[in-house]
Amino acid sequence: MSTIELDLDVALRELGDLLVSPRATGLAERVRARIEAEQPRRAAVPWWLAVLGRARGIERGPDRSRRLRRSLLLAVAALLLAVAAVAAAIGYGLPGIRILFGPPPSIPVSPSVPASAAPGAGLGLGTALSLDEVRDLVDFEIALPGGAGIGPPDAVYLSGGRLALAWGTDPALPGTAAEELGLLIIELRATIDEGMIEKLLRSGTHVEPITVDGAPGYWIEGERHFLAYLAPDGTRIDDTRREVGNSLLWTRDGVTYRLEGELTRDAAIALAETLR
């Protein structure tokens, strides 16, 4: 390294120490207020999801030990329920996905419909963000339908890495089980490491193995059904606490997609194959 280079090295470090740097005054309080304000929009996120968040070890604090213990007890109870449901169910296997037939979840479904203009806002899909914002936040390429007449989504939600793309009602869209939704696509990273995804269905729902551009999946039709995932620790996580209608579920490159809409099987597959 030449003298000039060394000088530049030193000079830059000195300069760094002398730079004007804005202070982070009250930032933590403002972040807390923002997060608390976000919470009601995530109202449908059930308690055991919060348990999972806490169990990740990043938010643990000594003052929370009692609540944590209670939460863990509740988590164990949920796990036992899940195990019981799994034991009673008949399973289909997909890489990273298992669809299970069984009784509907015992956790009561509470329809929460806060007044909001954004399609899907009351469904507990997560925090409303822009498409550009979620691109920075998820670790997979977001796929959008390229079908004729389908523009960019009207609303985008993110909840713990699970992305929901929502379209409002439109003559060009199929419509969904939720009144204000024309189409809903869920995308999430589902790998073997991150656990198996479970889908609990009421018995009698029609499920058919299909492929989307060669990727394995299932077409689920008939009675409205509940959706549930299984967290890596075996805890069952209700995805939405809402019933959904016809849906197409498939995985490609470690990402799981779910398309919800009142479509025929072939139309759903055709739409799914436009996702890029």
Partner: protein
């Protein structure tokens, strides 16, 4: 809320990161937004992975978005207090003036760099991030950090020559 502890631990470096990436934008606002987004995406954070580069990557993105929308270019600045000689190394007024002049020239040259060059220099020298952290925060491969830094320093030197001569 225990997340608040994380915010407190990393808030200074977050605001500083936002500032060096986008001096014209509101660094505090960018950092705030980044912390909220990091919280939303917390489930994606791999336990055991270093939190700081993951967070700063989100901060850097927020800052870049603001840089684009801010439009105008405002450079980094030196604190007003630096022109006061420190107690133990009080140089002569002439030396102090010379040092200040050189520093101003260097700062000007840094500010004239294109964003990509300034970012890598800021990450390594102003934020004192390691090469690996720089790669994470700027979302570039580690090898690219080396080559980009070397090119950025070359251009910085070239930008200084007129002044240094």
């Amino acid at each position: 809320m225990a997340y608040e502890e994380l915010v407190r631990r990393y808030q200074e470096v977050a605001v500083r990161t936002a500032h060096v990436i986008a001096p014209a934008a509101d660094a505090d606002d960018a950092a705030q937004e980044a912390f909220v987004k990091a919280w939303i995406a917390l489930a994606r954070f791999r336990p055991g992975a270093p939190f700081r580069p993951w967070l700063l990557q989100i901060v850097a993105n927020e800052a870049r978005n603001r840089r684009r929308s801010a439009g105008r270019r405002e450079g980094l600045a030196i604190r007003a207090t630096v022109d006061r000689p420190s107690d133990d190394a009080a140089p002569s007024p002439e030396t102090a003036a010379l040092v200040a002049e050189r520093r101003t020239a260097l700062l000007g040259a840094v500010n004239r760099l294109r964003d990509e060059d300034r970012e890598v220099i800021a990450a390594r020298y102003f934020l004192e991030l390691s090469e690996a952290e720089t790669a994470d925060v700027l979302r570039i491969p580690r090898g690219t950090v080396k080559s980009r830094l070397s090119r950025a320093l070359g251009r910085l030197r070239a930008g200084l020559t007129g002044v240094e001569a």
